[in-house]
């Protein structure tokens, strides 16, 4: 196959990537393909959340800063960022698979997150306290969920914090009384996506536009990318890169 990784051949150097945690499965797979074919190239991947990605790339600490939300105008202007969107993703509320509650109205969701509803029995579930999980301010996933699903409503202060999409999924999978929100691309049998006003968060509803809490996944660079960084972004957008996107459960852009 006319490899999209051919341009890397014979090159050496390091690409540093950090930021959005929704991106990590795709980043890891892409890095693996590239490094396997080109042992002289090393690619390091760190998480931290979208805010961190934008900040670190802006400061020149990393070469690529990922974000699960579009960088704000202020950020773009301050750091001279270039945004590359390579997948579309949704953010869905999720509960433990053992939880009978699988559908909520937006109002109910907001009440849960603001702390007005604290027991699953008020939602038709069993008599057990609701454990609310949330992400920190740096998270793009949180920003999108807060804006589009909670309409910028309050998040109760007793909510447990987790540090990434992966961690959110794990926490929900382990806690029978949990509710949280997670990238649709990350959802699998270990958690149950909660239908919002009747629309389940799945890759298809996101693709069709039916599920509204959707966002792009971005890789950002400071100024126009060059060298290995440029090749890496080109690789993500290539057919081969987009195949990885699909394989990891996201909606491709091309």
């Amino acid at each position: 196959q006319a490899g999209a990784i051919d341009p890397f051949s014979g090159l050496s150097g390091e690409i540093r990537i950090s930021g959005g945690t929704a991106h990590i499965p795709v980043m890891k797979e892409a890095a693996k393909q590239i490094m396997r074919a080109n042992p002289e190239i090393s690619i390091s991947i760190a998480g931290g959340g979208s805010g961190v990605g934008i900040k670190q790339v802006g400061e020149g600490i990393v070469d690529i800063g990922n974000s699960g939300r579009a960088a704000t105008d202020a950020e773009v202007e301050k750091y001279g960022l270039k945004l590359f969107k390579w997948a579309i993703d949704g953010v869905g509320a999720a509960v433990n698979p053992g939880n009978p509650v699988t559908s909520l109205t937006k109002a109910q969701l907001k009440d849960i997150y603001s702390g007005k509803i604290t027991n699953w029995k008020d939602l038709g579930g069993k008599d057990a306290p609701i454990t609310v999980y949330t992400r920190d301010e740096s998270s793009g996933t949180r920003a999108v969920f807060w804006k589009k699903a909670l309409d910028k409503g309050d998040i109760v202060s007793s909510a447990n914090f987790v540090v990434s999409n992966g961690a959110m999924k794990t926490a929900i999978a382990n806690d029978p009384n949990a509710i949280g929100y997670v990238s649709v691309g990350h959802m699998d049998a270990s958690v149950a996506g909660v239908a919002l006003d009747g629309v389940p968060p799945t890759i298809d509803t996101v693709k069709s536009g039916e599920y509204k809490v959707a966002r792009g996944l971005y890789s950002n660079t400071q100024g126009d990318p060059s060298g290995l960084t440029k090749l890496f972004i080109a690789y993500l957008l290539s057919p081969e890169g987009q195949r990885i996107v699909v394989q990891k459960g996201f909606v491709p852009v091309n």
Binding site: G48, G49, G51, P129, T131, E137, S157, S158, N174, D175
Partner: protein, 287 residues
């Protein structure tokens, strides 16, 4: 050895000591400079008593302070009896052979990584706490974190206690033996008073370790940003807070606030160190 090598050695020793001592000041300086925008406005103390709500521009860390206090205090409460009991066991109350085994095991425990306690906490302790106490919600709470932490700090405390015990001169032990002291009396009248500095150091080190640990609380205390009302509540420590927020924009106030957090930890620690040193000294003079 010539006078020159003498002098050189002396200077090298001095520089090492001076540099190491300056390290503490250097860390302080960095925290101060980086956290200045928040601290400089004289806001520092009001931050201590305020809630955290970046949405409303509030960067107080009362929740984190209470969380840290609750978790570290509780862990010492669990660890102190365990450590004292164990060191007394090794100091003559237990059979010699078993004592040696326990000693080896405790030293080995210092090598058990905190992240492994966190890891096992998630998969073993948290589910247990969740099933035992329904009001513990997820099971990620102060109780879980302090239980795990107590295992982390015990060996540190025991080793310092034991060093104190070992530094007691054999001749004192022989003298007490020859006068007919049994193992309990020897412990209470001769060894414990002599080993007092070691015990104080052990407690400092243990408390420092508990307050300073990040991973256990980060992984199993739940990290909720509120003032906890019970030991079954989720809580966030100052250290977890730094780990979680070090990830935001450099120029944001939220980011600067973690330096204030760091400073708080620093100052708390300094106070503890000074207080316990005073205590140890007083005791030393009383003898």
């Amino acid at each position: 050895m010539t006078r020159v090598t003498q002098q050189t050695a002396r200077i090298v020793f001095f520089l090492s000591a001076a540099v190491s001592a300056m390290a503490a000041a250097l860390v302080f300086g960095f925290l101060l400079v980086f956290g200045f925008p928040l601290i400089g406005g004289g806001e520092f103390f009001s931050l201590l008593a305020r809630p955290w709500s970046p949405g409303q521009g509030l960067y107080g860390f009362l929740p984190m302070i209470t969380g840290t206090a609750a978790i570290s205090f509780l862990s010492i409460v669990f660890a102190l009896p365990l450590s004292l009991g164990t060191v007394c066991f090794m100091g003559g109350l237990g059979p010699a052979r078993i004592s040696r085994l326990v000693d080896g095991f405790v030293r080995f425990m210092t090598g058990i990584p905190t992240v492994i306690y966190g890891f096992l906490g998630i998969f073993l302790l948290v589910p247990v706490v969740r099933t035992l106490f329904t009001s513990a919600g997820s099971g990620m709470c102060i109780l879980s974190a302090s239980l795990m932490l107590s295992l982390l700090v015990s060996p540190t405390m025991i080793i310092f206690f034991k060093d104190g015990f070992d530094s007691v001169d054999v001749r004192y032990i022989q003298a007490a033996d020859a006068l007919g002291a049994d193992s309990v009396q020897r412990l209470i009248y001769v060894i414990l008073p002599e080993a007092w500095p070691g015990i104080v150091t052990g407690i400092i080190m243990g408390l420092g370790r508990a307050m300073g640990d990040t991973l256990i609380a980060l992984m199993i205390a739940g990290n909720a940003v509120h003032v906890p009302g019970s030991i079954l509540d989720s809580a966030r420590t100052l250290t977890s807070h730094i780990a979680l927020v070090s990830a935001s924009d450099y120029d944001s106030l939220a980011f600067k606030s973690i330096f204030a957090c760091g400073l708080t930890l620093y100052v708390l620690n300094a106070f503890a160190v000074i207080a316990v040193r005073k205590l140890g000294k007083k005791r030393g003079q009383a003898r």
